[in-house]
Symmetry: C2
Subunit: 213 residues, 2 copies
Amino acid sequence: MAVSSRERVRAAAVKLFATKGFHGTGIRDLAQEAELSSASLYHYMGTKEDLLAEIMHTALNRLLDAAREATAGAGDPAHRLRTLVVLHVLAHAVGPAETRVVDNEVDVLSPAAREPVVALRDAYERLWASAIDDGVAAGVFRVAHPAVTRLALLEMCSGVARWYSPRGPLALDELAEHYAELASRALGCTSAPGVADLRRCREIVAKEWGVSV
Amino acid sequence: MAVSSRERVRAAAVKLFATKGFHGTGIRDLAQEAELSSASLYHYMGTKEDLLAEIMHTALNRLLDAAREATAGAGDPAHRLRTLVVLHVLAHAVGPAETRVVDNEVDVLSPAAREPVVALRDAYERLWASAIDDGVAAGVFRVAHPAVTRLALLEMCSGVARWYSPRGPLALDELAEHYAELASRALGCTSAPGVADLRRCREIVAKEWGVSV
DNA sequence: CAAAGGCTATCGATCGATCGATCGAACGTC
DNA sequence: GACGTTCGATCGATCGATCGATAGCCTTTG
């Protein structure tokens, strides 16, 4: 078997949840996309909600691990922030469907299922917050409202998943670099525009996401 | 009657579509929220999809009208762009539910119903595009990829609807000003940080949205 | 003025379709 | 023959939508 049925179910769910939404996707849609009967689906998943929660967990854990690995050892806050931006943009451009599910369907989960997902997202956002706060404290960032700015930048970068197409005029590298530049400017970055380690981020994304970037 | 049933149906739909999504909102949920029977609902709307489309039309037309009014006569591209940012942020902070519906539920519409909605959104984005392009041409903006930057800024500003709370530490004015500053910086604005006409934008929002701002 | 007729707003009951989920049976492989 | 997969058939619940009926309120008519 080229890909296992289990993987097909997951891929089908990511695709359909991203395009039609969780409530807009029926069990039978899922089955058709995965080339299985609706009954067979339940051999590989619990409830439909379990499937959604599992997708969110793996996606967020992957992003969190990748971000920790990419920023490990990068001491300079400005460099750390640029690295986070590059990684975030690459991840959202490479896996827009998965990302859209994570970003848009969080609150269809029941409170019990939502809680650990939100905790993961918070842990990820804390990486951004500390990079920004450290930069402000060190004087390399000059920005009035760091917390609000963090939210603004995160939304800006996540938006990539909503419009980016690999067939567009911009290569992935240019896109990521451009966003790093936008973020640096918004933060009033005073340090030299030291390039984030783009190659390293590309390798991490390629490894974690299992794609060639 | 304080508010008409028709208005209650509309308000209920905006609230529930925003929080639970279009497909996550049942006719009976709508009826309960509007304090009507599910049968009576159909006295005030066509299908559920018609209701969604109507909400999107009025919301987008309002935003488009407000943006045109706010930027009329503001010749300087940098000033125009800051005005667009301020208005966009105010609108998204004042009516987050409506905005989330417009931003997130566009593609549950059938192609026929979606087409005019997308046309309205495109017309609105064209205001941003021309302000940015004019600024680049005039040399007041220095940015590598204007079209991508426009998308990035729009996503950033729209994100306000996903997290802003009037009970937060930031007043509406500060929020709008801060976003205008972020956008100016991202665009590499070289002109003096001339404040957008915040008061005028507030008045327009107060008038068009029928709220005190 | 009162009765008649029409119009707006509302509802309970119910339609066929689809929903998520489960069952027992059959398949192939070791 | 045991086990991992797959499926057709089907469950009760809920979906969006429609039905005929009713109650109140204008306007018209005698």
